[in-house]
Point group: C3
Chain length 210, copies 3
Amino acid sequence: MPIPSLLQLVLDLTGTFAFALNGGLTAVRAARLDIVGVLTTGMVTALGGGILRDIMIDSLPPATFSDWRYLAVAAGGALVAFFLARPLQRFTMTIDVVDAFGLSFFCVAGASKALEFGLGAGQAVILGALTAVGGGTLRDVLLRRVPTVLTSGLYAVPALIGAAITVTATLLGIYGIPAAITAAAVCFLIRLIGIRYSLNAPQAPVIDHE
Amino acid sequence: MPIPSLLQLVLDLTGTFAFALNGGLTAVRAARLDIVGVLTTGMVTALGGGILRDIMIDSLPPATFSDWRYLAVAAGGALVAFFLARPLQRFTMTIDVVDAFGLSFFCVAGASKALEFGLGAGQAVILGALTAVGGGTLRDVLLRRVPTVLTSGLYAVPALIGAAITVTATLLGIYGIPAAITAAAVCFLIRLIGIRYSLNAPQAPVIDHE
Amino acid sequence: MPIPSLLQLVLDLTGTFAFALNGGLTAVRAARLDIVGVLTTGMVTALGGGILRDIMIDSLPPATFSDWRYLAVAAGGALVAFFLARPLQRFTMTIDVVDAFGLSFFCVAGASKALEFGLGAGQAVILGALTAVGGGTLRDVLLRRVPTVLTSGLYAVPALIGAAITVTATLLGIYGIPAAITAAAVCFLIRLIGIRYSLNAPQAPVIDHE
């Protein structure tokens, strides 16, 4: 299946670049790290989700280490972040939008790869979301921030929806470039709406700390 | 061996429910997260230890992803925590007792599964304890708390003892429901005593910071 | 190949002891943990890097769990730290130097083992560095410190250089005890220079927070 494999690669590498850029920008802005710290944060953000997915589906060594392009694209994205941090800082929403971009590509790529490795539909949806939120969560843990996946209701949810569309399309036998773009676009739009309106899911009833 | 397998499943799922409840309650109380954050924290707490164990013993994909019941029970426990957080908050010891409950089941389940996968006795004891403390440690890292396993001497120790009883019973050929209950009960009691009296293991000699 | 295997074991165990000592000392000094916390921190610091490497190269269960000597040496190093924390505290650079020692042995051991498992040259360099910085990063995450690998430019760099020397020597067919010692010594010296002069890699242009 050359075309699905190529599609998988394009989804993976696009998401990798977006997350590397996001991780690098976060490292510059939030923690004032030097170039090695920026490169490390960018690469962890970019490669973390895919590595977690590959461990879970027993595809070891992870694609990152069997295919040089992942490492090269991740390093490239982080270096772009390092050198363009100043001009990019004027666009305040940039970091979150780039993150939403990575989230959208990775939920599709993660769900699709999990299905290829024989996991069930429900598991593939969860693994798609894990691929999407994994790298950003590692980034936040290393930089000592509470992970976005815990604080923002509309972070895991769009990733789950994008993964679910991917899985449904595959089960219906219509997964391909149009379906992948649709799934990623739906995830992206929901995430953007969440960022724009600071939407959250419902909270538990208020607890009194008397 | 149908009975040991069933026993393994019951131990795993009971521990999973307890940790999901504990993780969800912690997310509500300590961090005021929304329902997605509570669900995520509960599921990470519930599934983290077993996933770490399954990675270590090369049982991939982890049981969590090959058997839907784990995901369902973990999600259920977290949702119970979300909706019952208010009535449950009156019982101040609840969170710690639920955590001790999960700890007791997981040290037995972890050690038993490690032996099934051919690991040695000592390794099975360590892996039993890792299964028991792993989920709570991930929970604490995500919520930015110093992990209980580092600050409370009587957290890893009861898990190691419960795992050691399990391994000893297996080596003697008497592992079964009574031995599993005994091992879990011993772990539970030692942990409760530790909580009640805030016991810790000895500290290193005081260091002067002049 | 009995001699390379023995060399691998010696490198691994020496690095393990150094990191266990470092992790234990850090736990005593930075967080005043009790003996169980010190033991846990020391063992995580000592075994974390090798376990991450073994997961990535699909060598599961990790060497730690298939070979008792790793667990024993890690526990021994942590206990030495616990009991000698007071006399050792007078040597202020001790913790960092011991860490540099572990870093140097692990970058060589990690790169060498990755090559044995058939990974490419570039991947082996990255995995050598991951082995070297992994345990200390887990230690810092558990103790809620920003990981050294992010804040100190000359932490990942010497590990990458030591791993690159190891890989180059192996490709040239001259890897053995002298090459391993050379690679570790170069890594150690660069790291010590970095500590002594608090050197960092360049930072991104200053960002104004007006």
